[in-house]
């Protein structure tokens, strides 16, 4: 959680060239649109300059000379310019939003695909909630940067440059006079940025502390209440909250100073224009229209600078988000496919473990020196106390993880020589907890595999005795599982998962039997289905039911991560060692 917080609270630079270059790559497929959008932006900036200039012409040529028809003509041109600007703006926004949405679409797709390729060890380490945040919120922040950050900054720069050029062209000296305050503005902006960055950082770290404390308090609420600590705890929270308030008030101080300062500097520029420009008019060196146009240009000049702090924040959070996204994309899957994968159309189903050692995330060994062989068509049960390493064997066989030492072979070939997806197609895996996806019963049996026909779905359901309860549902196979999910019993879910495994007709069946008890009637159905499911297949079953154990060819007994005994039920019972005790523990009562 702490690391999670730390990662969420990254406060970085507003601009990072390395990240930016990577981000811009996502724009490459849409470069035509981007170019059009930039051209439009140039046009819009240019058209925005027309207004004050038209005002100048109107005043100098027509109002002062009392030419009404000329005035009307100018007004009409002005109107036309406005209408054109409106359409260009709309077009520009639309195109840029379109690009933004497309880029987000691509990015989400890429992230999602990347996640699909990650190994299970990755999901053990990363909470689902955090991954969802990457895929949704972080991507959304990037869009904001693309559409309102970068592009708006482009637009502002175009406008500023345009205004400077027009002012210089209208009256070189007056322009220089009105720019006299510019260094002051630049200095104020730089100073403000530094201060704000500092206080922004203080705000972020303090709110992170509040949230960590809040989270801890929620989780430990029972302890707080029973130890009568509400008051003290609230005191602590209040203190943290107060520190945050102080940081916030500090940051408004800067904002409260900066915005009026920019305005004052702008007004000083206008004062300069009045003083110097007025003098020029008196000398006859400047027209009234030019003076008015100058005032209007200066007002427009200072506007974009005012929004700077806002854009700065957008850029900053976008950089932090993109850093997190790229970090995720750069994470490599631990279990990798071979470069030259083997492909076998039909396998025999022989499984062999050779001196396999395994530990999750380099902790204690869960499996030590495991070696065994299952012949094609043989049925093997694995039994052992909880924590003996049974489920790990299945996870390794399915290559959810790779062992640290040793080899696992199917038909004499190392499973690392197959592509993971191909390997898993050979295997039918039934997990202990049945996970249902939203969608219909049919969807949950064929899992989106369109090659499977409805008849096949029906047949497999019937074969594993799932047809009865399915047909009793109001919509049968089309019943929505999400809505009815809670109404399906544990046993029914298990039958559903059998049908799911069977419909793919695997050569090898791996089954992690559920421990939860079900009603007698369903129990009979499940036992019957299980027996059918195991027929003619190489099977490895982590067994909890006596009937399953008695029905297999061989039993492997695991204890403390090692294989301790192996043989048939009768043989092991005669030995009177681990299996005998396990048997007594679980089945005698």
């Amino acid at each position: 959680m702490d690391q999670y917080q730390a990662e969420e609270e990254i406060v970085g630079k507003a601009y990072d060239a390395r990240l930016m270059r990577r981000l811009l790559k996502y724009l490459v497929p849409y470069k035509l649109y981007v170019i059009i959008s930039i051209i439009l932006l140039l046009l819009i900036s240019a058209l925005q300059l027309v207004g004050p200039y038209l005002t100048k012409i109107a005043i100098d040529r027509y109002i002062v000379t009392q030419n009404i028809s000329g005035l009307s003509r100018i007004a009409l041109i002005f109107l036309a310019v406005l209408i054109i600007t409106f359409f260009l703006r709309y077009l520009q926004i639309y195109i840029m939003q379109f690009v933004g949405q497309k880029v987000m679409f691509d990015m989400r797709m890429k992230l999602f695909s990347h996640l699909q390729e990650m190994s299970l060890s990755f999901f053990d380490k990363n909470p689902v909630g955090r991954l969802i945040t990457r895929l949704t919120n972080d991507v959304e922040v990037l869009n904001e940067m693309l559409t309102s950050g970068v592009i708006a900054i482009f637009g502002d720069i175009f406008s500023l440059v345009g205004i400077v050029i027009v002012m210089l062209w209208l009256d070189f000296r007056l322009a220089l006079v009105s720019f006299a305050v510019l260094p002051l503005l630049i200095y104020a902006t730089i100073l403000f940025r530094q201060k704000v960055r500092k206080s922004y950082r203080a705000i972020r770290t303090r709110i992170a502390r509040i949230n960590a404390f809040l989270q801890e308090s929620i989780v430990g609420m029972a302890i707080i209440q029973i130890f009568n600590r509400e008051k003290k705890n609230f005191g602590k929270f209040k203190e943290l909250n107060y520190h945050y308030l102080e940081a916030c008030l500090q940051s408004i101080f800067y904002h409260a100073i900066f915005h009026p300062l920019v305005e004052i500097i702008g007004s000083v520029a206008i004062a300069l224009i009045v003083w110097y420009g007025g003098g020029q008019i008196l000398k006859g060196a400047l027209t009234f229209g030019a003076l008015v146009a100058f005032i209007q240009y200066v007002e427009r000049f200072y506007h974009p600078i005012r929004d700077l702090s806002e854009k700065y924040t957008i850029m900053q959070s976008a950089m932090a988000s993109s850093e997190r996204i790229f970090k995720l994309l750069d994470t490599q899957a631990e279990v990798k496919d071979p470069e030259l994968p083997l492909s076998i159309s039909k396998i025999q189903g022989k499984i062999e473990f050779k001196d396999v050692w395994f530990a999750y995330n380099d902790k204690e060994d869960v499996l030590c020196d495991i070696s065994f062989c299952v012949q094609p068509g043989e049925k093997v049960a694995i039994v052992g106390a909880t924590g003996a390493g049974k489920t790990s064997i299945i996870s390794l066989l399915a290559r959810f993880y790779d062992p640290q030492k040793g080899k696992i072979l199917i038909d004499g070939r190392d499973i690392r020589d197959f592509r993971q997806k191909e390997l898993r197609r050979y295997l039918g895996i039934v997990q202990q907890d049945v996970f249902l996806f939203s969608g219909t019963i049919e969807d949950n049996i064929k899992l989106g595999e369109n090659k499977i026909s409805f008849r096949q779905v029906e047949e497999s359901a019937k074969y594993v005795n799932a047809d009865r309860f399915i047909e009793e549902l109001p919509q049968g196979y089309q019943e929505d599982v999400r809505e009815r999910g809670s109404l399906l019993s544990v046993g029914q879910k298990q039958l559903l998962s059998f049908a799911r495994a069977l419909v793919f007709d695997p050569k090898i069946l791996i089954l992690d039997e559920a421990t939860s008890s079900v009603d007698t009637e369903t129990e009979i159905l499940i036992q019957d289905a299980l027996a059918k499911l195991l027929q003619h297949r190489t099977s490895i079953v982590i067994a909890h039911r006596l009937s399953t154990i008695k029905g297999v060819d061989r039993i492997i007994v695991m204890h403390g991560g090692r294989i301790r005994e192996s043989g048939t039920h009768q043989e092991l019972m005669r030995k009177k060692e681990i299996y005998y005790r396990l048997y007594q523990m679980q089945y005698q009562f």
């Binding site: 926004i93 969802i132 029972a222 302890i223 204890h559």
Partner: protein, 606 residues
């Protein structure tokens, strides 16, 4: 139509529209609650309004000076007067800026203050809610409300109020000043305004509608990802990655489409506002220019008028943003109220008696308990005399934790009666009740503080001797000596990783240091090895004598010495007696005992 009448009409129209928007979004209720917070800062708000008026009046003075400059330049003006005008502009803007600074600090200050108060209220309210509330609501959900929603409320209060004030004050004053120049010109130049407000109203309801669609699709997309990631084992086991990508592509595409449909009407929104104001400018130039030509107004007045119109642009544009802030802020306030209006179930009442000492005799009479129709405890009758030790065992989900959680009122009793020293538990002051209970929960929870802070957690005053004793009883003393920072060793998320057993023993120390009359250990030895468990139980022996002690355990070794042992199954007491009696009974307890011995044998083999 008189100018004044027109003025009132327009602002009323604006207000009506704002009000209509507010009511249609059903947000009045949420905002009413916010008002009580705002009223506490009435003085700051009034000052904020005053400063806002100051800011805007000064801003409106600048076009006035420009008018005199330009008119003066046409007739007679000397360089000194010109300089005076220039200085005047600078001074006015400095004054205006000063007022703007004061206004921002006041109003934003109020917003942060209210955020601070709301956060405090939220926190202290959460501490009053009972455990059953926290079982129902996810931690992430509360966190989201305490962060995002609180922020949205602050945005409503800060920039929201500031911009609303600016719009109203600037709007009214600018229009009034425009009217003093020429009311017809004002009328014509403002013609686009009603067009604007009407389009804003129409647009915003559509935007709201489409925005909701976008949010809905966002939720389903997130839900899709959530499901995929939760079921990643199944996806991988059946090699369904490609199909999952296809499914996600659809959700993703749909989300993009919904967004683009929003862009289609949101996109022209701002350009349209700009267009409307541009048209206003054209009208001023065209009609105003004619008025100058016909010498009805001066050129300076035209410039002044134009200045006001430009000043109106920003506040009017900000109005759309404000409406957005209000909508979001009040929706968020609603979500905060869902927590704040949650009535604490467990609290002191009028029946509470004035007691300060408890002896520790506990009696359950016909106690039943259910969670959302799921029955957990059925008709429990049990008398625990003071000073005895009682052991409770039974399968997972048999109701053991629920039974002991009723005693400190972490869960509220609904059926039957539970008394301590013959008093109904509800009549004992909550503080007194809990002060007399030492409790070690099933899931050990330690705070991110030092080991010492965690152990003395429930102690009013620090007492070194008590600390030593508690740690020694919990068999934690040797290990603490081995930590380099000893008692100051940080634990929890940021600190060292204590083993499960060390954590449990820290929790045991935390419970016994309070020297409670009733000690509840809910499966408190599950991560402690049998040998250490034996040691702790032995050391607890003397401590236990004058106290009622309740031991919940799966391991027989924890409870076999207890004065009385209960076996719970499906919420009922199915067996009770001493260890000897129960073993002789050949029931569930006997089975458990035998299984445990087998397990011990198994462990020896390994």
């Amino acid at each position: 139509m008189t100018p004044i009448f027109f003025l009132i009409n327009l602002t009323q129209l604006e207000l009506q529209i704002i009000e209509k928007l507010l009511t249609t979004m059903r947000i009045n209720n949420n905002l009413a609650r916010l008002k009580t917070y705002l009223l506490r800062h009435k003085r700051d708000l009034i000052w904020g309004v005053v400063f806002s008026i100051g800011t805007n009046l000064f801003a409106l003075l600048i076009p006035y000076v420009l008018r005199y400059t330009i008119d003066g330049l046409q007739t007679v003006i000397n360089k000194e007067t010109l300089l005076l005008y220039a200085l005047l502009i600078a001074c006015i803007s400095i004054m205006g800026g000063f007022f703007r600074y004061l206004m921002t600090r006041r109003i934003m200050g109020v917003a942060f203050q209210v955020e601070y108060e709301l956060r405090n209220d939220l926190f202290s309210h959460l501490q009053k809610l009972s455990l059953s509330y926290f079982h129902k609501i996810k931690t992430g959900d509360i966190m989201a409300r305490a962060t995002n929603d609180l922020k949205a409320v602050r945005m409503l209060l800060g920039p929201g109020i500031r911009n609303l004030l600016n719009t109203i004050i600037m709007g009214t004053a600018a229009i009034a000043l425009m009217l003093t120049i020429d009311y017809k010109l004002t009328l014509y130049s403002l013609i686009p305004l009603p067009v604007l407000t009407i389009t804003v109203t129409i647009f915003s309801s559509r935007i709201f509608h489409r925005f909701k669609k976008v949010q809905e699709q966002f939720s389903s997309m997130s839900a899709g990802v959530q499901e995929n990631l939760s079921g990643i084992r199944v996806v991988k086991a059946h090699a369904q990655e490609e199909n999952e990508k296809r499914k996600f592509r659809q959700l993703n595409q749909e989300y993009m489409n919904k967004n683009m449909s929003l862009v289609k009407i949101w996109g022209p929104f701002f350009p349209f506002i700009m267009l409307i104001f541009g048209i206003g400018m054209v009208i001023v130039l065209w009609l105003g220019g004619r008025l100058v030509i016909t010498e009805r107004i001066s050129l300076g007045q035209l410039v002044q008028f134009n200045g006001y119109l430009m000043m109106l642009t920003w506040p009017m544009m900000a109005l759309g943003w404000v409406i957005n802030l209000v909508q979001r802020g009040s929706a968020s306030m609603g979500r905060l109220l869902e927590i704040l209006e949650q009535v604490p179930q467990i609290k002191d009442s009028e029946q509470t008696q004035d007691i300060s000492v408890l002896e520790g005799e506990i009696e359950f009479k016909n106690v039943s308990f259910a969670y959302d129709e799921k029955v957990i405890l059925k008709n429990i009758n049990l008398k625990i005399p003071k000073g005895i030790t009682i052991g409770i065992t039974g399968p997972i989900g048999s109701g053991k934790s629920t039974l002991v959680n009723l005693i400190p009122r972490l869960l509220e009793l609904r059926q039957g009666s539970l008394t301590i020293d013959g008093m109904e538990i509800k009549t004992i002051p909550l503080k007194v009740l809990r002060k007399n209970i030492g409790y070690v929960p099933q899931e050990t929870f330690l705070f991110s503080e030092s080991l010492k802070e965690n152990i003395i957690y429930g102690l009013e005053d620090f007492d070194e001797a008590k600390l030593r004793r508690a740690v020694s009883i919990s068999a934690l003393d040797d290990e603490i000596e081995r930590f380099s920072q000893r008692y100051e060793t940080p634990v929890g998320e940021r600190g060292v990783t204590l083993s499960g057993g060390q954590k449990q023993r820290t929790a045991i120390s935390r419970a016994i240091i309070r020297e409670p009359k009733i000690l509840i250990l809910d499966d408190a030895f599950s991560s402690v090895d049998v040998h250490t468990e034996e040691k702790i139980l032995k050391q607890l022996g003397k401590f236990r004598k004058r106290r009622t002690c309740i031991l919940v355990a799966h391991r027989i070794s924890t409870i076999h010495d207890a004065d009385l042992i209960l076996v719970l199954k499906d919420g009922e007491i199915v067996e009770q007696g001493t260890h000897k009696e129960l073993v002789a009974k050949r029931g569930i307890y006997t089975n458990m005992y035998r299984q445990q011995r087998l397990r011990e044998e198994l462990e020896k083999i390994a």
